[in-house]
């Protein structure tokens, strides 16, 4: 039978929302406080959902330690306590939580080869969250 398993993680990072395609004034108008040149930070909460058949031998969709290891190595190690603007992934794109969510989805999609990545949900604050759902 098919079930969905979700695991929640946390990381802290800073960013500044600023687009090279906009003027200084447009950047201030579009991004408001988030355009502060010194940046600001968030505690991000990340939810990773995988789905698949529950294996009879193990009672599991996949081994949780495998998911934890991939998320730890590929996501938390890369983003936790970093300034997102200084990370290669955001050299050319604005580190909005939309783009961060897509970036994390793509990283995990590449690495979770034996498990179907169903959804990545990212909370920027307790009031804002973003989701990318797999095909």
């Amino acid at each position: 039978m098919k079930a969905h398993l979700t695991r929640r993680y946390w990381f802290a990072a800073s960013h500044r929302l600023h687009s090279e395609k906009l003027t200084e004034e447009e950047n201030r108008a579009v991004y408001g406080k988030c355009n502060n040149p010194f940046g600001h930070g968030h505690n991000y909460a990340l939810e990773v959902t995988v789905s698949g058949q529950v294996a009879e031998a193990t009672g599991m969709i996949c081994n949780l330690t495998d998911i934890d290891r991939v998320v730890e190595d590929e996501v938390l190690e890369r983003f936790d306590h970093q300034n997102l603007n200084c990370i290669p992934e955001f050299r050319e794109i604005v580190p909005t939580t939309e783009n961060l969510c897509i970036t994390i989805f793509n990283i995990l999609k590449r690495r979770l080869d034996s498990t179907h990545l169903e959804k990545v949900r990212l909370e920027e604050t307790s009031q804002n969250s973003f989701e990318v759902i797999g095909e």
């Binding site: 039978m1 098919k2 079930a3 969905h4 398993l5 979700t6 695991r7 929640r8 993680y9 959902t49 529950v54 031998a57 193990t58 009672g59 599991m60 969709i61 081994n63 949780l64 330690t65």
Partner: protein, 137 residues
């Protein structure tokens, strides 16, 4: 118009993961700490979501009192303060992982609801780990 309604309850239980077809070493490797034969426990949180049309007379999708009674009888009475491997029949032959417990709860609840339809069983093993089951094959 379809409305979704979710009811939550909690139960505490112990379990361990062990497949008799595996060697002792395989069991330790696959299940890690969860293979401790003396068991360990969790505070589970169960969310049951039902869906249906809003009844024109009562304004209800489902009688919450009835849903609460079904959840208490089928899940809480059977699993709360129990050792799942030894005391819940489903887990004589299945490993009581969160996946399998969610599926067992679905099977226990399905068919007991008279008006609304079961939509989702969400079972939290911890605040950072949960399983959703939608009755899919």
């Amino acid at each position: 118009m379809t409305v979704f309604l979710t009811r939550k309850c909690e139960f505490s239980a112990s379990h361990h993961y062990h497949n008799p077809a595996f060697t002792a070493e395989e069991n330790r490797r696959v299940f890690g700490k969860c293979n401790n034969p003396n068991g360990h426990g969790h505070n589970y949180t169960l969310e049951v979501t039902v869906k249906g049309e809003v009844d024109a007379t009562t304004g209800f999708v489902v009688d919450l009192k009835e849903l609460k009674e079904i959840m208490n009888r089928e899940v809480v009475d059977a699993m709360d303060h129990r050792y799942l491997n030894h005391e819940v029949p489903e887990f004589q032959s299945q490993i009581p992982t969160t996946e399998n417990i969610a599926i067992a709860i679905w099977k226990r609840l399905e068919g007991k609801l008279h008006v609304a339809k079961l939509h989702r069983v969400r079972l939290y093993e911890m605040h950072n780990l949960w399983v959703d089951f939608y009755g899919e094959a």
